[in-house]
Protein backbone atom coordinates (compact mmCIF):
# COMPACT_ATOMS: atom_id res chain seq x y z
CA UNK A 1 0.00 0.00 0.00
CA UNK A 2 1.20 3.50 -0.74
CA UNK A 3 2.51 5.48 2.19
CA UNK A 4 0.03 7.40 4.28
CA UNK A 5 0.25 10.14 6.86
CA UNK A 6 -2.00 11.29 9.64
CA UNK A 7 -3.22 14.69 8.42
CA UNK A 8 -5.22 17.27 10.29
CA UNK A 9 -8.41 18.02 8.36
CA UNK A 10 -10.33 21.24 9.04
CA UNK A 11 -14.00 21.89 8.26
CA UNK A 12 -15.70 25.26 7.97
CA UNK A 13 -19.21 26.66 7.56
CA UNK A 14 -21.44 24.13 5.79
CA UNK A 15 -18.74 21.48 5.77
CA UNK A 16 -18.38 21.85 9.53
CA UNK A 17 -22.13 21.57 10.00
CA UNK A 18 -22.40 18.49 7.79
CA UNK A 19 -19.36 16.78 9.28
CA UNK A 20 -20.43 17.65 12.81
CA UNK A 21 -16.83 18.52 13.73
CA UNK A 22 -14.37 21.35 13.11
CA UNK A 23 -11.24 19.24 12.93
CA UNK A 24 -10.20 15.60 12.71
CA UNK A 25 -7.11 13.52 12.16
CA UNK A 26 -7.37 11.25 9.11
CA UNK A 27 -5.00 8.80 7.44
CA UNK A 28 -4.43 10.10 3.92
CA UNK A 29 -2.05 9.09 1.12
CA UNK A 30 1.24 10.92 0.87
CA UNK A 31 0.77 11.15 -2.91
CA UNK A 32 -2.74 12.34 -3.69
CA UNK A 33 -4.93 15.03 -5.33
CA UNK A 34 -7.60 17.35 -3.92
CA UNK A 35 -10.23 15.35 -5.80
CA UNK A 36 -9.03 12.16 -4.18
CA UNK A 37 -8.86 13.81 -0.77
CA UNK A 38 -12.49 14.94 -1.07
CA UNK A 39 -13.55 11.40 -2.00
CA UNK A 40 -11.67 9.95 0.92
CA UNK A 41 -12.95 12.53 3.41
CA UNK A 42 -16.55 12.07 2.25
CA UNK A 43 -16.13 8.31 2.58
CA UNK A 44 -15.28 8.93 6.23
CA UNK A 45 -18.09 11.51 6.57
CA UNK A 46 -20.89 10.59 4.13
CA UNK A 47 -22.91 13.65 5.15
CA UNK A 48 -20.32 15.68 3.21
CA UNK A 49 -21.31 14.09 -0.11
CA UNK A 50 -23.44 17.08 -1.21
CA UNK A 51 -20.31 19.25 -0.99
CA UNK A 52 -17.90 17.02 -2.88
CA UNK A 53 -18.42 18.75 -6.20
CA UNK A 54 -18.42 22.33 -4.94
CA UNK A 55 -15.82 22.35 -2.17
CA UNK A 56 -12.19 23.23 -2.67
CA UNK A 57 -9.18 21.88 -0.80
CA UNK A 58 -6.52 24.02 0.81
CA UNK A 59 -3.25 22.55 2.03
CA UNK A 60 -1.35 24.60 4.60
CA UNK A 61 -3.60 27.58 3.85
CA UNK A 62 -3.12 27.51 0.07
CA UNK A 63 -5.84 26.63 -2.40
CA UNK A 64 -5.01 23.59 -4.52
CA UNK A 65 -6.52 22.94 -7.92
CA UNK A 66 -8.68 19.84 -8.16
CA UNK A 67 -6.26 17.68 -10.12
CA UNK A 68 -2.99 19.03 -8.68
CA UNK A 69 -0.57 16.30 -7.69
CA UNK A 70 0.08 16.71 -3.97
CA UNK A 71 2.84 15.29 -1.78
CA UNK A 72 1.73 15.53 1.83
CA UNK A 73 3.95 15.53 4.92
CA UNK A 74 3.37 14.88 8.58
CA UNK A 75 1.91 18.00 10.16
CA UNK A 76 0.24 19.23 6.97
CA UNK A 77 -3.15 20.83 7.43
CA UNK A 78 -5.86 20.01 4.90
CA UNK A 79 -8.95 22.22 4.84
CA UNK A 80 -12.30 21.47 3.20
CA UNK A 81 -13.38 24.85 1.80
CA UNK A 82 -17.06 25.19 0.84
CA UNK A 83 -17.96 27.85 -1.76
CA UNK A 84 -17.04 31.20 -0.20
CA UNK A 85 -19.40 34.07 0.48
CA UNK A 86 -17.39 36.75 2.25
CA UNK A 87 -17.23 40.38 1.24
Amino acid sequence: MADTINAQVLFFARSRELAGVSSVKLQVPVETTPKELLSLISAAYPALLPLVDSAAIAVNEEFKSSATALTLSSGDVVAVIPPISGG
Binding site: L10, F12, A13, R14, R16, E17, P34, S54, A56, A58, E61, E62, F63, K64, S65, S66, T68, A79, I81, P82, P83, I84, S85, G86, G87
Partner: protein, 152 residues
Protein backbone atom coordinates in the same frame (compact mmCIF):
# COMPACT_ATOMS: atom_id res chain seq x y z
CA UNK B 1 8.47 54.85 0.31
CA UNK B 2 6.99 51.43 1.11
CA UNK B 3 3.24 51.42 1.65
CA UNK B 4 1.05 49.85 4.30
CA UNK B 5 -0.78 46.58 3.61
CA UNK B 6 -3.15 46.30 6.53
CA UNK B 7 -5.39 43.23 6.69
CA UNK B 8 -7.63 41.96 9.44
CA UNK B 9 -10.36 39.44 10.16
CA UNK B 10 -12.08 40.52 13.37
CA UNK B 11 -15.23 40.20 15.42
CA UNK B 12 -15.01 43.93 16.26
CA UNK B 13 -17.21 46.55 14.62
CA UNK B 14 -15.26 47.98 11.66
CA UNK B 15 -14.19 51.62 11.87
CA UNK B 16 -14.31 53.30 8.46
CA UNK B 17 -12.82 56.60 9.66
CA UNK B 18 -9.87 54.83 11.28
CA UNK B 19 -9.13 52.71 8.21
CA UNK B 20 -9.44 55.71 5.91
CA UNK B 21 -7.10 57.71 8.12
CA UNK B 22 -4.70 54.78 8.17
CA UNK B 23 -4.38 54.71 4.39
CA UNK B 24 -4.10 58.47 4.06
CA UNK B 25 -0.62 59.87 3.46
CA UNK B 26 0.85 63.27 2.63
CA UNK B 27 1.50 62.28 -0.97
CA UNK B 28 -1.99 60.82 -1.51
CA UNK B 29 -4.54 62.92 -3.37
CA UNK B 30 -7.16 60.18 -3.47
CA UNK B 31 -8.64 57.57 -1.17
CA UNK B 32 -11.35 55.20 -2.37
CA UNK B 33 -13.31 52.85 -0.14
CA UNK B 34 -15.79 50.05 -0.51
CA UNK B 35 -18.09 49.14 2.38
CA UNK B 36 -20.19 45.97 2.28
CA UNK B 37 -23.24 46.09 4.52
CA UNK B 38 -25.99 43.67 5.54
CA UNK B 39 -29.07 44.08 3.34
CA UNK B 40 -32.54 43.43 4.69
CA UNK B 41 -33.54 41.09 1.89
CA UNK B 42 -32.24 38.52 -0.52
CA UNK B 43 -34.31 37.54 -3.56
CA UNK B 44 -37.53 38.64 -1.93
CA UNK B 45 -36.95 37.10 1.49
CA UNK B 46 -36.57 39.32 4.53
CA UNK B 47 -33.12 38.94 6.09
CA UNK B 48 -32.80 39.71 9.82
CA UNK B 49 -29.04 39.21 10.13
CA UNK B 50 -25.94 37.61 8.67
CA UNK B 51 -23.42 35.47 10.54
CA UNK B 52 -19.91 35.29 9.17
CA UNK B 53 -17.33 32.58 9.73
CA UNK B 54 -13.71 32.60 8.54
CA UNK B 55 -10.67 30.41 8.16
CA UNK B 56 -8.96 33.39 9.78
CA UNK B 57 -5.28 32.70 9.23
CA UNK B 58 -5.79 31.66 5.61
CA UNK B 59 -8.16 34.58 5.02
CA UNK B 60 -5.49 37.07 6.11
CA UNK B 61 -2.90 35.35 3.90
CA UNK B 62 -5.21 35.59 0.91
CA UNK B 63 -5.82 39.27 1.71
CA UNK B 64 -2.06 39.83 1.69
CA UNK B 65 -1.91 38.16 -1.73
CA UNK B 66 -4.65 40.52 -2.91
CA UNK B 67 -2.65 43.50 -1.62
CA UNK B 68 0.37 42.31 -3.61
CA UNK B 69 -1.77 41.94 -6.73
CA UNK B 70 -3.21 45.43 -6.28
CA UNK B 71 0.35 46.81 -6.10
CA UNK B 72 1.28 44.96 -9.31
CA UNK B 73 -1.71 46.30 -11.21
CA UNK B 74 -2.25 49.81 -9.85
CA UNK B 75 -0.14 52.67 -8.58
CA UNK B 76 -1.32 52.67 -4.98
CA UNK B 77 0.13 53.95 -1.72
CA UNK B 78 -1.57 52.24 1.24
CA UNK B 79 -4.14 49.44 1.39
CA UNK B 80 -6.47 48.28 4.15
CA UNK B 81 -8.73 45.22 3.93
CA UNK B 82 -10.90 44.43 6.98
CA UNK B 83 -13.56 41.75 7.35
CA UNK B 84 -15.84 41.25 10.28
CA UNK B 85 -16.94 37.86 11.59
CA UNK B 86 -19.77 36.82 13.89
CA UNK B 87 -23.19 38.45 13.75
CA UNK B 88 -23.58 41.44 11.46
CA UNK B 89 -27.04 43.01 11.79
CA UNK B 90 -28.91 44.82 9.01
CA UNK B 91 -27.19 48.07 7.93
CA UNK B 92 -23.94 47.21 9.69
CA UNK B 93 -20.62 46.75 7.92
CA UNK B 94 -19.15 43.36 7.10
CA UNK B 95 -16.17 44.40 4.94
CA UNK B 96 -14.15 47.52 4.19
CA UNK B 97 -11.51 48.02 1.53
CA UNK B 98 -9.67 51.34 1.56
CA UNK B 99 -6.92 52.31 -0.89
CA UNK B 100 -4.93 55.51 -1.32
CA UNK B 101 -3.13 56.78 -4.42
CA UNK B 102 -1.61 59.96 -5.80
CA UNK B 103 -4.35 60.25 -8.45
CA UNK B 104 -7.92 59.07 -8.32
CA UNK B 105 -8.14 56.49 -11.07
CA UNK B 106 -5.71 54.14 -9.31
CA UNK B 107 -7.53 53.98 -5.98
CA UNK B 108 -10.93 53.77 -7.73
CA UNK B 109 -9.85 50.83 -9.88
CA UNK B 110 -7.92 49.14 -7.08
CA UNK B 111 -10.89 49.12 -4.72
CA UNK B 112 -13.16 47.66 -7.40
CA UNK B 113 -10.63 44.95 -8.23
CA UNK B 114 -9.98 44.36 -4.54
CA UNK B 115 -13.55 43.68 -3.47
CA UNK B 116 -14.05 41.35 -6.43
CA UNK B 117 -10.88 39.49 -5.41
CA UNK B 118 -11.99 39.24 -1.77
CA UNK B 119 -15.28 37.72 -2.87
CA UNK B 120 -13.46 35.22 -5.02
CA UNK B 121 -10.40 34.24 -2.98
CA UNK B 122 -10.85 34.82 0.75
CA UNK B 123 -12.20 31.85 2.78
CA UNK B 124 -15.01 33.59 4.62
CA UNK B 125 -18.61 32.39 4.64
CA UNK B 126 -21.93 34.02 5.47
CA UNK B 127 -25.09 32.43 6.74
CA UNK B 128 -28.36 34.26 6.16
CA UNK B 129 -31.12 34.28 8.78
CA UNK B 130 -34.67 35.03 7.65
CA UNK B 131 -37.65 36.71 9.28
CA UNK B 132 -40.00 33.92 8.17
CA UNK B 133 -38.11 31.43 10.34
CA UNK B 134 -37.06 29.24 7.42
CA UNK B 135 -33.81 27.32 7.65
CA UNK B 136 -30.81 29.66 7.64
CA UNK B 137 -28.66 29.26 4.51
CA UNK B 138 -24.95 29.38 3.78
CA UNK B 139 -24.57 31.66 0.76
CA UNK B 140 -22.21 31.42 -2.21
CA UNK B 141 -20.65 34.43 -3.93
CA UNK B 142 -20.60 32.47 -7.10
CA UNK B 143 -23.75 30.38 -7.29
CA UNK B 144 -23.81 28.51 -10.56
CA UNK B 145 -20.39 29.81 -11.56
CA UNK B 146 -17.68 27.78 -13.17
CA UNK B 147 -15.19 27.54 -10.38
CA UNK B 148 -12.02 29.50 -11.01
CA UNK B 149 -10.94 29.49 -7.40
CA UNK B 150 -8.39 26.74 -7.71
CA UNK B 151 -6.59 28.40 -10.58
CA UNK B 152 -5.03 30.76 -8.06
Amino acid sequence: MAGIDYVTVTSDVLDLAALTDMVGREDAGAISTFIGTTRNSFKGREVVRLEYEAYGTMAEKQMKIICATLREKFSVINIAIAHRIGVVPVRETSVIIAVSSAHRIDSLQAVHYGIDAVKELVPIWKKEFYADGSVPEWKENCEGCTRTLNAH
